[in-house]
């Protein structure tokens, strides 16, 4: 049987595509579906035969203020970290995109992006070394100022924020940099030659044009921070109970997998709402 050119192409495309997408289906999409199914079970089917369908895992979330409070706390952490990253990162992206030119720009940009792609656990650990009491911060201050100081930020909310900002700052610099450098310099020059002060140029021209990049960076930080558990565990100690750590507990300590699945899915729903809300702006991002 002879195949038409169209059928041959479809066959070839199928052969090339199916291994990758089968893999993604088995390792990502089926697991997500399984988790949704699981979140409506009373117990894990592979631990007991005595299980049935129930919505109790979801009602458990709402019946106690514990879980909504922790989710709120995690979203607050996300908001604080995102805000810090944007405030610190945007000016840096601006300097890189608009003030520094040539090879030094490329080198500096690479230096900023490099840590982002290195091991996140190790970088959080490095803050545990820096922030511990009687550590390098105390000794540096004592070497400069003749006072005895004891700054112990370890195991506090600020410690978690510092570690997470360190982890995600390069993200927002990357997205803002891409957006800012796409702005045509002649536009800015035109505005300036017409006598606009920098403030006006920034508010009316630069900020609106770079907003998609800013939003993309913000979302890319907000979402993973909402699900973080390793960072609060290491830098927060007993202060480090968040929504993510509670989910972790369900899977590695309490072994209430159906509840963990429901909690995970509620987080996923929140994430999807955020991504959906941001998508009109994100569509303009590169």
């Amino acid at each position: 049987m002879a195949l038409t050119a169209r059928q041959t192409n479809a066959l070839r495309a199928g052969v090339l595509l199916s291994p990758a997408y089968l893999w993604l289906t088995v390792a990502v999409f089926l697991p997500l579906s399984a988790m949704l199914f699981f979140s409506f079970l009373s117990a894990a089917p592979f631990t007991t035969d005595d299980w049935h369908f129930t919505t109790s895992n979801y009602t458990a979330f709402f019946s106690r203020s514990l879980y909504p409070d922790l989710l709120g706390r995690s979203l607050l952490l996300s908001a604080v970290v995102t805000l810090c990253c944007v405030i610190i990162g945007y000016p840096c992206a601006y300097v890189l995109a608009k003030q520094i030119k040539g090879r030094s720009r490329e080198a500096l940009f690479l230096l900023i992006i490099l840590p982002f792609w290195s091991n996140s656990l190790v970088r959080i650990f490095s803050w545990a070394i820096v922030l511990r009491g009687n550590g390098i911060i105390d000794h540096t201050i004592e070497a400069i100022l003749p006072v005895d100081v004891s700054i112990n930020l370890m195991f506090s909310f600020p410690a978690i924020v510092i570690g997470l900002v360190h982890s995600y700052l390069p993200y927002v610099i990357l997205t803002c940099y891409l957006a800012l450098q796409a702005i045509d310099d002649t536009l800015i020059d035109a505005a300036r030659s017409l006598g606009a002060p920098f403030r006006t140029i920034f508010v009316r021209l630069i900020l609106p044009l770079s907003l998609p990049g800013l939003a993309a960076g913000a979302v890319l930080i907000f979402v993973p921070v909402a699900g973080s558990f390793m960072e609060p565990r290491i830098l927060g100690g007993r202060m480090g109970t968040f929504y993510g750590t509670v989910i972790e507990d369900q899977f590695v300590a309490v072994f209430n997998w159906p509840l963990g699945a429901a909690l995970s899915f509620i987080l996923l729903a929140v994430v999807l709402v955020i991504l959906g809300a941001a998508s009109p702006v994100l569509r303009h991002a590169r």
Binding site: Y21, P31, L111, I112, N119, V122, F251
Partner: protein, 263 residues
């Protein structure tokens, strides 16, 4: 230039310098402490290589390090092959549902790894794969695939499809076209994709944490457990080695892939 125009530029450079200090100082401190004799990270510093010597004799950490390396190599090989094949198809052919396939690449990147990792744990247990190295590789490849496809596709955008058509009209078979024309052109993209895949796997903690068998875990999982139990500068030593490796991998990738886009 008037002074009014130069001071913002100087301030800008200082600001970027401060950011770089913030990004690198903790890593430097962490590395420095791996050469300090005090077990309690005390000052003043006394130089020693003892922690590296101890590390070399720490069988659980060394074996987990080798496991991490070979899992990363297997992940890289699979993800690069499957990802490059998929990118070629997405580039060459137009078909209904193509947009859906492109959107399918985002969940593994955009959904928090905590959710993906726990979902994998549930599903793999359910179908009988359970925890352990096969589960870890299944997970790592899935996380690495979208990066490979995105990076290789970006490189393919610079490729002129007419070159393929020319080769085909000269009688080359589909495989010959791919091997002799297309692959050499996108080679740097494939290399960059492979390095990304290696980094995703080698540095992966969250998904490995849920999927690795205790006692048979990858290096980041072993380090996390150690950090939570109480640690010595041995952990600084292995962390220093890891950060050097992962930064070297990304430096190599940066030679093949422009992070800042085309200029």
């Amino acid at each position: 230039m008037s002074p009014r125009r130069t001071w913002p530029i100087a301030a800008g450079r200082v600001y970027v310098g401060v950011i770089l200090f913030f990004l690198y100082a903790p890593i430097m401190v962490m590395a420095l402490m791996s050469f300090n004799a005090s077990e309690f990270y005390a000052f003043p510093l006394h130089f020693t290589l003892d922690w590296y010597r101890k590390l070399a004799g720490n069988a659980p950490i060394i074996s987990s390090a080798w496991r991490s390396v070979w899992i990363a190599i297997v992940t890289t090989a699979i993800a690069t092959t499957l990802g490059t094949a998929a990118s070629l198809a997405l580039f060459r052919y137009d078909f209904p549902g193509k947009r859906v396939l492109q959107v399918m690449l985002f969940p593994p990147i955009a959904i928090p790894w905590l959710i993906i990792g726990t979902a994998m744990l549930i599903f793999f247990f359910w179908v009988g794969i359970g925890r352990g190295t096969p589960a870890v590789i299944l997970g790592h490849v899935a996380l690495a695939l979208p990066y490979v496809i995105v990076v290789v596709s970006a490189r393919l955008q610079t490729f002129d499809i007419q070159l393929e058509e020319a080769a085909r009209s000269l009688g080359a078979s589909s495989w010959q076209v791919t091997r002799a024309v297309t692959l050499p052109w996108i080679a740097s993209g494939v290399v960059a994709g492979a390095l990304f895949a290696f980094a995703v796997s080698f540095d992966q903690f969250v998904v490995s944490y849920f999927l690795a068998q205790p006692g048979d875990a990858t290096l980041p999982v072993v380090i996390y457990t150690a950090i939570r139990k109480g640690f010595t500068p041995e952990i600084n030593a292995i962390s220093t080695i890891i950060i050097v490796i992962s930064m070297a991998v990304m430096l190599a990738a940066s030679r093949h892939f422009k992070f800042g886009g085309e200029r």
